[in-house]
Amino acid sequence: MRPSLNRRNFLRTVGLTLALPALESFPLVAAARKTLPSAGKAKRLVCVGANLGLHAPSFYPKESGAGYSETPLLKPLMCHKQDFSLFSGLDHRAGNGHKNWDNFLCGKTVGDVSLDQVAAEKIGGDTRIGSLQLSAGRGSFRQKMVYNRQGVPLPMTERPSVVYQTLFGLPDDVDRTEYLIKSGRSSLDKVTGEARRLRTVVSAVDRAKLEEYFDSVRDLEGRMERQLKGLREPRPQVDYRLPEFDPIAPTLMLENQALMYDLMALALETDSTRVITMFLPGLGEVFTINGEVLSAGYHALSHHGNNSGLITDLIKVESEHMRLLSGFLDQLKSKTDSEGKPLLDSTLVLWGAGMGDASRHSNANLPVFLAGGGFKHGSHIAIDRNQSGAPLLGDLYVSMLQQLGIEQDRFSNASRNMNQYLV
């Protein structure tokens, strides 16, 4: 950690919603682990969305079912074969183009509440952080991925140091934040006094309206009280060191991603949060893999136009994504929950994209990988999307929500589920 790095200033760039982190806090509970509720088989949800998706022919096996053979992109994942399912032929039946990428977790319509936020409403309340939104660095323009119920896209944290600080450190401006809350309370006393005087001036009808002001101030005072209490509450201690600088340079996006996975695993292990999303940008990042500088930027590679040289390099990048994902699954297998069981058993890990073929900007046939969470895995479930009544990606989301103990039988344009493949 670089102590001189003033977190508030960085946060300011993402908008006021995070300008005062401590005021943004979620329902606070002790950092100690809570016993998990026994509602669903899965207790946690991780969703990873890759801006450029995957080269489908290198990812999907030709065979469906359990006896499929290894493909170049599946190679790093084969050690987990029994713990994940592959789905081909799923999507949201939405239009093509970059903008519609954003519907990956929303369903058909960009801006509808995203899968993770539906989950967070139900399972995010018991942890210190309701849900964590991450992006492994930034490109020159940003896709959105997570939308709350009001349709507001939630900002994603791009710096591992900020994630670390949020999870395990006290805010570095804790004194200032404390002062702002305390002085804020005294200013509320002052303005409530003004409202009391107004009560004697306004009509009976408006007096009722003015009651809203008193109620709102009381509500805010309660929030401030909780924030104040949580401010200096001890955070979980972890034995983990970040590098001295944040890997935000375009060439370092894979390093960024690796750190984010580490922090995600730690966040789940310490039960700091149960809902995490991570966006994987894909623009002009030129990667060096195994000492070799790739032939073009990641985005240029994705527009391969079926050139074999470009595809070879693209697969190198995508294999890194798969290798890092595999490493994350390793961590979730070795780390355990409060009952001593591997985290992966009760953690759903979804990896996918809002784009099925980046070379053509097609948003059909999205890549979908789902691991853990107590589902029955091990197969490639190949859906023929041209058949009438073929399941939608939203149907899979319904199954995931139900597995998380959330009784919901619709998601966007989907109103069934895919339990027959998973339970």
């Binding site: 309206k209 002001y213 109620d215 101030v217 060439t251 032939s295």
Partner: protein, 879 residues
């Protein structure tokens, strides 16, 4: 609740509308009438008439149309009975009731009932009664900006307001909640932190050592060769030219000492390489360029071995330095690339041959360069091209600008000329400094505080709040109140010794005070201050300016002439665009255009015409410019319906309005165009934005447009449909037209009452497709091909209005409205006053409005005259 109607009955116009109405549904809406029930008997004469002519159908048992008039006495304070009886008087006046086939009252009997109802309704609908009005999001934002003279935008997640009566500024719907109060408090704190920031802690300077390979780049803007970073292009985008450190960014805004080890690699003969150094945000660097960064220095690099160059520069938090070879002849610029490639081909005929062999295109980036090299090493003969053949090849090569530039990058990475970055050392901050944003805010802070020379902190605090509070609270403020705020400052100062810390808290208090957040405290006629606020929030969405306040202070604003004069002044100022935009967005539902993306199949020849940002901007701007001219030129109200002008850009004018547009090089810009009166297009009916907003981007629904017209143009919204009716989802691919489907309504008496009003108008608009183009046929969607250019069923637009008027198409409807513009003018006036006063217009308001409209029409006055009359009306002048 026509929104609700649309949602249940016809499908939502947009998902945003849904979310907003969802919010509305869960908020509590107070009605203004909470006085105790007072029952008044119906006079015998009236009761007997009701019994004779009305109660057959409208008694408690029958309840035709869900209306019962069976009562001996009426609670006139009840909003519901007011609504019922107001509908009754309307039905009597327009001869709708009793229905033709029933026994009819004599003229004098009808007059007796109407007179009784008119008098009673007016007596029981006192003008005024806007609920205590909270600033809505827009007013709050503009208030902050104008009070503190700052540029400020509310955060994206700031709560959105509920709507009522079609607008987002209605007293009864503007509730306050804990989360909103928290948002107010956060914004107040954010602004205080900017204006009066805490003292910065000193920061120890740190040293960062960077090697060549500690620099990063995007796409193909740089390459590390033998541990040294090479950059080769002068493109404006950093992702196409620059390199920057991957391990350094300024931890805090301040002065940094930067030492750069630079050299030239195979520089052009007789020229030195110029390295430009830019300050850029490290996270955003790949998306920035020379226009969005600060140029710190330009360094002549004339040595081919690394030489240290030193500069000291201001870097803001999170910024780093980006380096470019700023006089390279290779750039992502068509003309520069043409010259560059031509020069290369002349010098290296083998390269030209290789490109020739590859037909002018190779793969992007290094792979393309590798292929060129391979071709050059094969048995190619150098081709000495010249003249047209050379130009032709060059043209082919530069056609794909980005691709070719990236390929040539690799040539120059290998062969030069290139700027080499061997390493760097950055030390800092060696001094703290204000960044651009901090400078901006400290300037604003100084302006608020004023001259500190010779004034005690105490005086400054008192003066500041004596000045600020009356503007923030929009009325004079007592000395006691000023003293209260000064004492907040004093207490904080006692703790820290800094005036700024005190002002910080004082400002936060003022910005969360009920005096700031609410307006309209006193019932009855508005005093001059409340009148000033009402006028300025109406026309500018922000508090009164100095001139208006002066007129409020001396009371002259209460005079008609003065009030009208200020209204004219504000209407003429730029600040009134916010009124035009937000009023039209809500009246005409134009806000929906932001989210609407018309279906691609509507544009079978996209090269000729399709719907993009330019088109959206044009149809979005058109109503605003049209409305502005209606005011500025004081045009007659009939021009809203049948004008001889509109505003449009080239593509909408040509492809939607079928106008002979001239190509003048400024096709994108929206200009005023002349129209022929009495045509298909022109006026709010058939305006492309209106037609697009009332469709859904894919198809049109006659009921949606019909209801919309009744509600927003004719001012007689239909009642909500009965719950049992399934939504009509026209599927024009079937051989059943919407018209045939709607015919079913006419057989159902519970539907017919409204649908005989809705449908004929809805059908008229069927001749406008989902973006407002004229059509005579529905698209043919049968079969597998989605070819919308193929004609399907013919569009039938003819119909008969309830009063017997026959309509062939929209031209007849326009003529019908133009013959008697009063219903439209009354509807628009009601909307304007609802927006201005923050309350729903009642019977008395409407009666006054009708009089003003009649006078306006009789005197052949214009729209601005009417607007001023409305502003000068009792409805406007009463809380």
């Amino acid at each position: 609740m026509v929104n609700g109607f649309r949602r249940r009955h016809c499908g939502a116009l947009s998902s945003r509308a849904l979310r907003l109405s969802g919010l509305l549904a869960c908020s509590v809406i107070f009605t203004t009438n909470t006085t105790l029930a007072e029952l008044q008997p119906i006079p015998t004469a009236s009761y007997e008439l009701l019994e004779t002519y009305c109660l057959d159908c409208h008694d408690d048992l029958e309840r035709k149309g869900d209306i019962s008039l069976e009562a001996l006495e009426v609670d006139w304070s009840d909003a519901h009975s007011l609504e019922i009886w107001e509908r009754a008087i309307g039905a009597l006046r327009f001869g709708e009731m009793p229905p033709e086939k029933k026994r009819q009252p004599s003229d004098s009997e009808r007059a007796t009932l109407i007179a009784w109802l008119d008098e009673t309704l007016e007596a029981n609908s006192p003008i005024g009664g806007t609920a205590l009005r909270r600033l809505n999001r827009r007013e709050y934002e503009y208030s902050l900006r104008s009070l503190l003279d700052i540029e400020y935008t509310l955060p994206e997640g700031f709560p959105i307001d509920n709507q009522a009566h079609g607008f987002d500024n209605q007293g009864d719907a503007l509730t306050l909640s804990g989360p909103l109060m928290e948002a107010y408090s956060k914004v107040a704190t954010d602004i205080a932190e900017k204006l009066f920031p805490p003292v910065k802690d000193p920061v120890e300077p740190a040293t960062t050592r960077l090697n060549g390979d500690d620099f990063t780049y995007a796409y193909s803007s740089g390459l590390v060769v033998d541990g040294v970073m090479r950059v080769v292009a002068s493109s404006e985008r950093f992702a196409a030219s620059a390199a920057w450190p991957s391990r350094f960014e300024a931890s805090v805004t301040g002065i940094y000492r930067v030492e750069l080890g630079l050299s030239g690699f195979n520089p052009p003969r007789g020229e030195s390489i110029v390295c430009s150094v830019h300050a850029v945000n490290a996270l955003q660097a790949p998306g920035e360029g020379i226009d969005s960064s600060r140029l710190l220095a330009e360094i002549d690099v004339d040595s081919e071995s690394p030489t240290i160059h030193i500069l000291e520069a201001l870097l803001e938090t999170g910024e780093t330095i980006a380096l470019r070879y700023s006089n390279s002849t290779l750039a992502e610029d068509r003309e520069m690339l043409r010259t560059h490639v031509k020069t290369l081909f002349l010098k290296e005929p083998l390269l030209a041959s290789a490109y020739m062999q590859a037909d002018g295109v190779v793969e992007r980036g290094r792979i393309g360069w590798e292929r060129l090299k391979q071709l050059m090493q094969s048995n190619l003969l150098p081709e000495a091209l010249e003249g047209e053949a050379l130009d032709e090849l060059v043209n082919r090569v530069i056609r794909n600008l980005r691709l070719t530039t990236e390929v040539l990058h690799y040539k120059h990475f290998e062969e030069g000329p290139a700027l080499e970055i061997a390493g760097a050392r950055v030390v800092g901050p060696i001094a703290l400094a204000e960044g651009a944003e901090e400078r901006y805010w400290s300037g604003k802070s100084r302006a608020l505080i004023g001259d500190r020379e010779g004034r005690s902190d105490e005086t400054i605090a008192v003066d500041l709040f004596r000045e600020f509070l009356p503007t923030a609270f929009r009325r004079p403020v007592s000395d006691t109140m000023v003293e209260e705020y000064a004492s907040i400052v004093r207490e904080e100062m006692e703790a820290t010794g800094r005036l700024e810390d005190g002002l910080h808290l004082g400002l936060r208090s003022a910005l969360t005070s009920p005096y700031f957040l609410y307006r309209g405290f006193r019932d009855g006629p508005l005093d001059s201050y409340d009148l000033a606020a009402r006028l300025s929030f109406f026309l500018t969405s922000r508090p009164a300016d100095a001139k208006l306040l002066r007129a409020a202070r001396d009371g002259s604003l209460l005079e008609s002439d003065v009030l009208r004069g200020h209204a004219i002044r504000l209407l003429g100022s730029k600040k009134s665009t916010v009124f035009v935009e937000s009023f039209l967005d809500q009246w005409l539902d134009l806000a929906a255009l932001e989210d609407l993306v018309p279906d691609r199949t509507l544009f079978p020849k996209p090269k000729e015409f399709s719907y993009g940002d330019v088109e959206r901007d044009s149809i979005r701007m058109e109503p605003n410019l049209f409305f502005q001219e209606m005011i500025a030129a004081n045009r007659p109200l009939v021009d809203f319906v049948d004008p001889d002008f509109t505003y449009t850009n080239y593509s909408i004018g040509k492809h939607v309005y079928e106008l002979p547009m001239e190509k003048d090089g400024k096709e994108q810009s929206v200009r005023r165009v002349a129209l022929e009166k009495g045509g298909r297009f022109g006026g709010v009916l058939g305006m492309a934005g209106v037609m697009t907003a009332t469709a859904n981007g894919v198809d049109t629904q006659p009921v949606v447009r019909g209801v919309w017209m009744l509600e927003n143009i004719l001012g007689s919204p239909p009642r909500e449909p009965p719950d049992a009716v399934p939504a009509l989802t026209p599927d024009t691919s079937q051989a059943v037209t919407p018209r045939e489907m709607l015919a079913a309504h006419m057989n159902e008496s519970s539907c017919a009452g409204c649908h005989k009003k809705i449908d004929p108008i809805g059908f008229v608009f069927e001749s406008f497709d989902p973006i407002g183009r004229w059509r005579t046929h529905y698209p043919d969607l049968t079969g597998s091909s989605k070819n919308r250019s193929k004609n399907g069923l013919p569009v039938e637009t003819d119909g008969v209005l309830p009063d017997g008027t026959e309509l062939r198409d929209v031209r007849d409807l326009k003529a019908y409205l133009a013959r008697d513009i009063s219903p439209f003018a009354t509807c628009l006036s009601e909307k304007l006053l609802t927006y201005a006063t923050g309350r729903e217009m009642n019977y008395s308001d409407r009666k006054r409005i009708a009089q003003l409209v009649d006078e306006n029409v009789a005197e052949s006055e214009g729209f601005r005259d009417l607007l001023l009359d409305l502003i000068d009306s009792e409805s406007f002048r009463t809380k």
